[in-house]
Structure formats: C-alpha cells, structure tokens
Symmetry: C2
C-alpha cells in the first residue's frame, strides 16, 4: 500500500492524548509528511503543528486526509463524515486505520470514484500475496521482536533506521498501521490471510543490494497466545540477520491479558533465535531495547547494565540513551 503525502491530519473531537497516537507518530517521526492538522470543535488535543481547514490545506498541497485518531470501537463516526466528504470533494485521498472500512461505506465509495481519489484502509491489504518460500535474499535485515506486544518495537526500529541514515543505505519496513502512516507504505501483517504471513513479509522486504539494511518493524510476541502466529510468520519471512529484543520494564501481565506473566528475556532470546534459524542460520541478537519509563534515571541505567552483563548485548532505553550502541554492534 502506497500512501500519498503530504497529509492533513484529522484529530476529530479527540479528548485524550493517547487517542491521537497515529497523528502524533507521523509528526514525531516524519514531520515533513504532515502539512497541518485539522480538528472538530471540542477537540482538546494537538500534535503541535499548524492547523488548517480542508480547503486551505488542499490549496497548500495536501494530498491525503488522514484519520489520525482512534476510538474504542474502530468505527468511522457519523460526526466525521461531513469532513471526510469535503476532503474527497476537494480532491484528497482518505487514509484510515480504523477497523470499519472506508470502502464499506457506499456514499464515500461513490463520492471517491466521482472525484477520482483513493479510499485507503491501511489495515486491509488489497494486494494478493504468494506463500513464503524461505529462499535466502540478498541485502541485510534487522527485525525487532518482543517479550510482549506494545513493547517498543516500532519506536526502536524507527530510531535505529533514523540513526543509521547518515552512514548506511537503509529502509524502514512498516508492518502495522502507525508504521505504514509514518513510512508512507507497508503491509499490516496482522490483517493478511494466515496462509500468506511470511510471503507478505518476503514481498515487503525484497532482495536488495548486499550492504542495504531493511529495518523491519516487529509485531506481537512468540509468547502471546493471541498473536504468536503473526510473530512467527513475520520472523520467518523477515529472515533477519540481526534481532533486537524489546522489553517493557515493570509490566506484570501480557498486554490485554490478565494473570499471564511475561516470558523472561532469556526465554525470548532462545525461542526467537531457534525460530529465526529456520530461514537464516546466521541470525543473531545485536541488542536489547528496554522501555524503562517505570524507573528513575539511575535505576534505568543500572537495570540496562544488569541485562548487558547477563546477556552480553548492548542494552539501552532508546528514548533515554539512544540506539547508537546497538548500531555499533551490527
């Protein structure tokens, strides 16, 4: 899926900072893609960039209207429809990461056709994939894996890609909706039909120049009972040379589950390495990325040092310490 920036980021009537995570991700990581934001009356949030109405944004070159907020049901709310229609009429494509598909709303579909713009549901891959082959591909690949979902895999890989840009030929390969919006392309791997998980990743990260690095966003965890299948297919398809382990310090139960303790870092390294070797016998871990937000500065340093001593891998909090030491280890 290829998106068309620059974006007008729509914030709806968002009232808490977490709900505009999608819009904020773009502004944090690819400010050049975000022309402006646009909110409904009652919205209390902002990404901090300039605000423009739809007509002004279009006149200033905005090519896509991005639904930059999330709600609990994942539905396109009725009070967004007038804005979406106006954006279509102005000639903008519409980008959505909601569960409900833009393309399932007949009046939007018809209007988009009439104005020759695209309705892009980034959670719904439209292309057909082949099944994976496991055949080695040229080029180098780094993949983030985790002890859990939401363990910092997107943040870590974006930080690594950014820090590598000056010295390496490098691409960020997005596998989730936030990542796709930031990268402007990618495949929402958890939305692919199960038969094609690894095949989709083989297509997302094709053969490349021998020194080129693909930095591939990870998803889920091999230990998460809901999503491990996605994680394993992604791992096999990525055939990573380098793995980065992501972990959230102080989390006591796996994401969205109760009473399910996280696996140890040791287990996570062992099981991921074993599985990675199915498609890349040379796979190895190159670093550990820890979200230490639950700790004080000094405690965070000490905890990272403990992991570093235990596993012999550079261990950092990407937000606090940067990712340079992991890159040095490539």
């Amino acid at each position: 899926m290829q998106l068309h920036p620059p974006y007008l980021l729509f914030l709806g009537d968002a009232k808490d900072p977490f709900s505009i995570k999608l819009a904020r991700g773009v502004v944090d990581w690819r400010p050049e893609l975000a022309l402006a934001e646009f909110a409904l009356p009652g919205c209390t949030e902002t990404t901090g960039i300039q605000s423009m109405d739809i007509a002004t944004a279009r006149a200033n070159g905005a090519k896509s209207f991005v639904i930059g907020l999330a709600n609990s049901g994942g539905t396109i709310q009725d009070n967004w429809l007038d804005c979406i229609k106006l954006a279509i009429q102005s000639g903008m494509n519409i980008i959505s990461g909601m569960h409900q598909s833009l393309n399932d709303i007949p009046e939007l579909k018809q209007l988009a056709k009439q104005h020759n713009v695209e309705l892009q549901d980034i959670r719904k891959p439209q292309q057909t994939f082949k099944t994976g082959t496991g055949q080695p591909r040229s080029g180098k690949r780094l993949l983030a894996v985790g002890t859990d979902c939401s363990a910092g895999k997107m943040y870590s890989t974006l930080a690594i890609e950014k820090a590598m840009r000056d010295s390496f030929s490098v691409s960020f390969r997005a596998t989730g909706q936030s990542g796709i919006l930031i990268a402007g392309e990618g495949i929402a791997v958890d939305c692919v039909v199960a038969d094609f998980i690894s095949g989709a990743i083989e297509e997302l990260s094709p053969a490349n120049e021998p020194d080129h690095w693909d930095i591939i966003e990870g998803q889920g965890s091999l230990f998460h009972p809901a999503f491990a299948g996605v994680s394993l297919g992604l791992l096999h398809g990525a055939q990573p040379d380098a793995l980065v382990l992501c972990h959230v310090e102080g989390r006591d139960s796996m994401r969205s589950l109760t009473n399910r303790p996280l696996p140890s870092i040791e287990q996570t390294i062992e099981v991921n390495l074993q599985a990675a070797k199915v498609t890349n016998p040379k796979a190895k871990f190159v670093g550990i990325s820890v979200n230490t937000s639950a700790l004080e500065e000094q405690q965070a340093l000490e905890q990272c040092q403990r992991y570093e001593d235990q596993f012999g891998l550079p261990t950092i909090d990407p937000l606090r310490h940067g990712v340079a030491r992991i890159i040095e280890n490539l």
Copy 2:
C-alpha cells in the same frame, strides 16, 4: 461453517485420482454423507459410490452439490457452470473449496438468492472471530503436528476419532477444506485473518465436558517457512493436552520447497512442546504416526520400532497398524 449433507459429489471431467481427493475423503471417512457422485463426459475417475444425475439426486434427498475435485489454478471452470446452475435451480446448496469464490460469480450469486440456497466457499470463513485469550478451557484436546505439511495429520486425527467413538465422548474438529467437507463443519484456519488464528481455534474447540475429547486436525509445521505462523497460532489456540507427531518416512525436502531438509523428529517434538506449554503447561506427546508407504511391510515395522525405542512413544503407521496403541496411551 455448517454444511448440509447429504452430498452429491461432483467429479467434473477429472482424469487423475489425486484430483478427486476431496470427494474421496468424504466417501472414505463419512460414506453416510455422500448420496451419490456425478461426473461430466470424459471423466475417468470414480469414488466407487453410485452415480446419479442432478435431478435424481435431488429427488433422493441430496441437499448439497459438492465440487469434489481440484484443479491447478483453483478456479471454477466454465464447463462446470451449467451443472452448478442446474443444482442451484433444483434447490441444492453449492459447496466449494476452490480458491475462486462462488460468491464472486454474480450470476451464481443471483441465482442462489433467487432459489434461496447457500453458496458455501469452505476456504473463506464468513464469520468474524475474536483474538485468542489463552484462557484454559474445560474438556480434553488432542492435536496432530508434523515435521512437514501433508504429513498425515488429517488422516491420523480422523483415524483416532473413529477408533475412540465407541469408548469416549469425542469430536473431530476440522481445520482444512477436506476435513470440513468430511466433518460437515469446521474452520479453514489458513484462510483466517492472521490476527485471529488462535482465536478461531478457541471458537472451533470450545469448553466442553471434562471427559470430552476434541481431536483437532493440524496444519503445516513449525518448521515450514511458508506456514509456520498458522501452525503456531493453531497450537496455541488448541491448547492440546495430547500431541501426536506426524511424519512421512523418506521425504527428502519439505513440501513445495526445494533443497529444504525436514526437521528431525527430535527437534519437532522439542519445539512443539515448548510452544504448546504457552497455553497448556501439561501438554505432552502421546504417539508418533508415520506414513511408511515408501517402505516394505517389514522395514516399516522396524522403522516404527526404532522411533518407539528412541522417543519412548507408541509409533504406528495408521494405515498399516491402526491407531489403537496411541489411544491406549491417552
């Protein structure tokens, strides 16, 4: 997906025995579901049951017309359409396991609506699933896993379910198209959206009486670079108490891949057990089911004995030796 037997098994103009595998599976395992077969001129194959034309089959109670053959492209062939339409007009549902969806052919869709019958694409789950929870469920579960795809998982689980019927409360749970046709219901797990693999299996094999056994058809292999994601999600969703390892003796490369050796039985046991324990810490292997068709009778017995000595598990070829010894080990 709930199918409606009895079936009229359509063989098209099949010219080799492998192409009518779907139809033959029903006749082998659930002859009571198959009223008759029906072939086009030029067909050289038969399942061995009586032949009837569409009108006669309908008059004798056939409720579904089953496309019981496969072709290489997975498309609904033009020369089948007249028969399919006639079956719809006679009041039969149409069942297909082809890649091309019956529901994507407008004239069939319209005709089916007009005659109030269903077009059932058994490879395309229609229901929406929840993500898995990994929560323990009551009842007992057996799952077949393999060193490879097409390693006898369906055959072994059907044989086990059949042999258990007299002494146990037992259900066969189908996860692939042939299995679904035989069981009359099930979920084609490789066609589920990746996010819902384990959730779909939790729904397929719900909580049950404490002594009830679900015998769950396995898919793929944790070592197959195309399909391991499906296998892992299925394993986590099944939370099996008992695992049966399926293996084909003498195969030198993994199915549909070249130059990829199969994992050892030892590795397959170790990795499956480790993964199974994520959702069922008490999971254990109860037997090994080997397809020994490449060996002579005596060699087959000796090879099974070698595996039995090596792994301490009852080892049989289900076709040659039956599955009783695995059931005794439950």
